[in-house]
Symmetry: C2
Subunit: 555 residues, 2 copies
């Protein structure tokens, strides 16, 4: 397709994933066709109090529903598939992915009884699918989950190569190494744009092979033969689990798997042939008591210090079936994701306090390409335009710097934002507009019913609590029938602050008297007078700023 031009332009529109971590979803649009790559969720920021998860606003897709040909999913991590069950309810289009990814998606859909209503198709590496004016080819890569794919997106305006999350692993645990030859071959044809994973773009060097972790496990197993082993890692890293199982088999240990997501993924992976477990190796957690410590290894969730995960519950001594005891060796086969450092450290401290030994270094490798790996992909693909994806803004900038160092024209590198419409073909590329995007917050069963006002209230309630002032007034008059009473929650320990609360009541009474005396019957005014008086009294006395909520009843 080298040099072939087209009047129409390809539009690349990230609907999520570029100004936040997670929530990856990008629309590719050419004339009457839209293909959407990935459909992930994000975990809530610290200031999204009480929110369970965040999904993308897909208004743009709904407005163009007739064009949307389907979702193409690069791999099975939550930040790439997690929003599908929510989004498919609003736009029911087919989903295309590799075998394990489809398996993980199906598990999600099944939980929500959406399996029958969703079309999905398993695609093999090297295979292409036609979706309207697009053809999408799945290219084998490596990542911290199996069956990860890069995509070659063929459009009349040119080819876009999207790496998805990837690393270069020459010696993967399962299946083939990344198909570098195919990247080169497509590069030879002439690639319009490369969208490459930026997560590790700040890290120099190469990312180590997953196999090196297997060797680390072997060393640990051989040096700690008399201890019970508990290894925490990411549920979705099936290769990691495979290597633990292999070491267990080699050193004569039984394996117990603990943690809901770990159990789920292992069973899916085993069923689909991605995990090979020797006979009589996996045992049920309830059988553990039949084996001595030195014959046991537990594989568990909780490597990020998540408060409800299995390892955290063991460390806090609230796990029903596993009690940490002196002599146990706990291995963190993970690295804390930014933001989780303190939680992980707390779990490590608790484990030490129970007399356990803890190993938390050098038993993990990243699933993302480092600087030299990124340079390799650029050098094989040789794109005209570079569009860094996946990562915080700082990581996109780091990739931009890499691309520049490789000789890509500064003006051909686009660090775009969620909602930007990047139009491109062989003649040029530029951001031509912006579409509606956003974060939809999921809280319990509610999708989008918690907005900024509710969050602001939660924030204020969390800081200084609430003072509720109730009173009953005579209907059509201004006679006080009951109250004013003040009830507080999250403000002070009332039993030790009775004087303060009584004084506060008097302040409200004065404000109320004053209003009634001046015949103010506008309740809005009455409420704001109470708010002001009580608020300034409380601030003066405590330097706190609780929410003040006057409620007037009419009887």
């Amino acid at each position: 397709m080298k040099g072939k031009t087209s009047d129409s332009k390809l539009k690349i529109i990230p609907l999520g994933g570029l100004e936040e971590i997670g929530m990856n979803i990008t629309a590719f649009e050419y004339e009457d066709s839209i293909v959407v790559v990935d459909c992930g969720l994000a975990f809530p920021d610290d200031d999204m109090l009480g929110i369970d998860l965040v999904i993308p606003d897909i208004t743009y897709l709904k407005q163009n529903i007739k064009k949307v040909k389907g979702f193409v999913i690069t791999h099975g991590h939550e930040d790439h598939i997690g929003a599908l069950p929510y989004v498919l309810r609003e736009i029911n289009v087919p989903v295309y992915a590799t075998k394990l990814t489809v398996g993980l998606i199906e598990h999600k859909l099944e939980e929500r009884d959406m399996l029958r209503s969703t079309k999905r198709k398993t695609v093999k590496f090297g295979q292409s699918i036609n979706l309207g004016k697009f053809r999408i080819e799945f290219i084998k890569t490596n990542h911290s989950i199996q069956d990860a794919a890069a995509l070659a997106i063929y459009s009349p305006a040119g080819i876009v190569v999207h790496t998805g999350d990837f690393k270069v692993d020459y010696t993967p645990v399962f299946g083939d190494a990344i198909d570098l030859q195919r990247f080169a071959e497509i590069g030879k044809k002439g690639v319009l744009a490369l969208m490459c994973d930026s997560t590790n773009a700040e890290r120099p060097g190469f990312t180590m092979s997953e196999k090196t972790v297997g060797r680390a496990f072997d060393t640990i197993f051989s040096e700690h033969r008399s201890q019970r082993l508990i290894i925490a890692t990411f549920a979705s890293n099936v290769d990691r689990v495979q290597q633990i199982i292999d070491s267990a088999a080699k050193y004569g240990r039984k394996v117990v798997v603990e943690g809901r997501s770990m159990v789920n993924i292992i069973s899916i992976a085993q069923e689909l042939g991605y995990l090979k477990v020797p006979d009589n190796t996996l045992i049920d957690i309830n059988m553990m008591k039949n084996y001595p410590d030195e014959q046991m290894v537990l594989i568990t969730t909780g490597s990020q210090g998540e408060s409800m995960a299995a390892l955290s519950r063991m460390a806090a001594d609230i796990h029903k079936k596993v009690t940490i005891k002196p002599g146990d060796l706990i291995v963190f086969s993970s690295h804390p994701i930014p933001g989780n450092e303190k939680a992980v450290s707390n779990v490590i401290n608790e484990l030490y306090e129970k007399g356990a030994e803890v190993i938390f270094q050098d038993v993990h490798v990243s699933g993302h390409a480092c600087q030299e790996d990124i340079k390799l992909i650029y050098s094989l693909v040789k794109p005209k335009y570079s569009i860094p994806v996946h990562g915080e803004y700082r990581h996109l900038i780091a990739q931009k710097n890499i691309a520049e160092s490789l000789g890509i024209d500064k003006d051909n590198i686009f660090v775009i934002k969620t909602g930007d419409v990047l139009e491109l073909n062989q003649d040029g590329a530029k951001v031509t507009g912006k579409v509606e995007t956003g974060e939809v917050m999921v809280d319990g069963l509610g999708v989008g019913d918690v907005g900024n006002i509710v969050l602001r209230d939660r924030q204020r309630l969390s800081e200084d609590g609430i003072l509720i002032v109730v009173m009953t007034l005579e209907k059509h008059g201004n006679q006080l029938l009951a109250g004013p009473d003040i009830v507080s929650r999250g403000f002070v320990y009332v039993r030790e602050s009775e004087d303060l609360m009584e004084e506060a009541r008097l302040v409200v009474e004065d404000a109320l008297d004053e209003c009634l005396r001046r015949n103010i019957s506008d309740w809005g005014k009455l409420k704001s007078s109470i708010k002001d008086s009580l608020g300034s009294f409380v601030w003066k006395r405590t330097q706190r700023n609780p929410m003040i909520l006057p409620i007037i009843m009419e009887a």
Copy 2:
């Protein structure tokens, strides 16, 4: 004193600092004398919603007030001096420290008008003070703040060496290197116990000299001559500030200092002679506009991403006097403290988004001793007992492992906890009891008036908000005069959930009718019936668990 024994034992009682980061305070008790080392605050954990800071419970000192001879402070960081203004209000005893430390303490006392009521004494390195049965010698060390001291605590039961927070810096920026000779000399006399800083006990090797950061600054200044420089670092690291000022003078830049704590500490340090500023170097922030970018360097707070600090406000574009623009170079001369990684990363992203360049690596060294430095101190002091201090539990364990590797008997290493009473002399050492300790939470002006119930309420309010159900009942009867009304905050966006709220009201009405019909006039029962019905309705419909607060008025 080698070999000299005593019938009485020395008691070492940590009243804080061993199960949490910060809040360092340790009582040393011998017969009728108590000396307290340090009096620090801690910053609130993530689950202490709305809390400003945490100070130690000093019940034990109040109970033994007649014995307490004074506070001996090792250095001027908040986790060693921050609780003084609160604690001195309850036990007014003299404070002993080195010159800069006294200066920083005086600033705190002055702010609270406590200067006249507090006795304090400046001690020089090498000097000793007699406090009851104790003699305390101040020994020069190095740390990320000047004038840090280790203490040799002489008691009839033997000598305890307490390092405070320290590093070994052979080439400090200001003043002398750590007095290793004195450590050795005291070691030769025979040391009963060593209490050594564990913060970096997990890190192999040696800690680099502060001077290496000066060289890094010089390189940055020389390679970025045309850009405005903004350097964020810790306010209390005066040596760091000195090196920035030196580079500024060398490369012809004016210096602006921004951020309240930075301005305060620099003025104290300058006044006391710990910071040398060449004439016409420091300028006021309002004068900045008179100088071109390449002649300016700003030194600012905010290196930890603290939301209200100067750099964070600049990054968020809400700083009144500094606007980040393309071409600015921002240097983080710091490393994120565990728990701050995400906040720091957010600030870095915001700075990049404004087109600035950011340097955040290799412009910082730690203020704490690494493994080889710790081994050096043990080898000079050669204590009988080892009591690791300063650090999370994992760090104490790491130091324990170091002590063991140096040949100290496992039974002579005491990883103790806050409140433990460790009794020791030449004949033996053991934990013999536990005293009352705890965390006192400070919220606004309130000290200790927020307890676990209030925190639990804040937690619940922050997650799902509150539903307030109000009604007015006839006095001595069960006639409903007004309501029931439901008011919510932090639950759902009410305008879009009118149906839900109306249904909820009907649920309450039904529950109420049922109670009134059954002549239930016990308001406790009435309230819990409303709570149950409304709670289960809300859970079924939203899977949320807001606080439900029924308020009944009587008219």
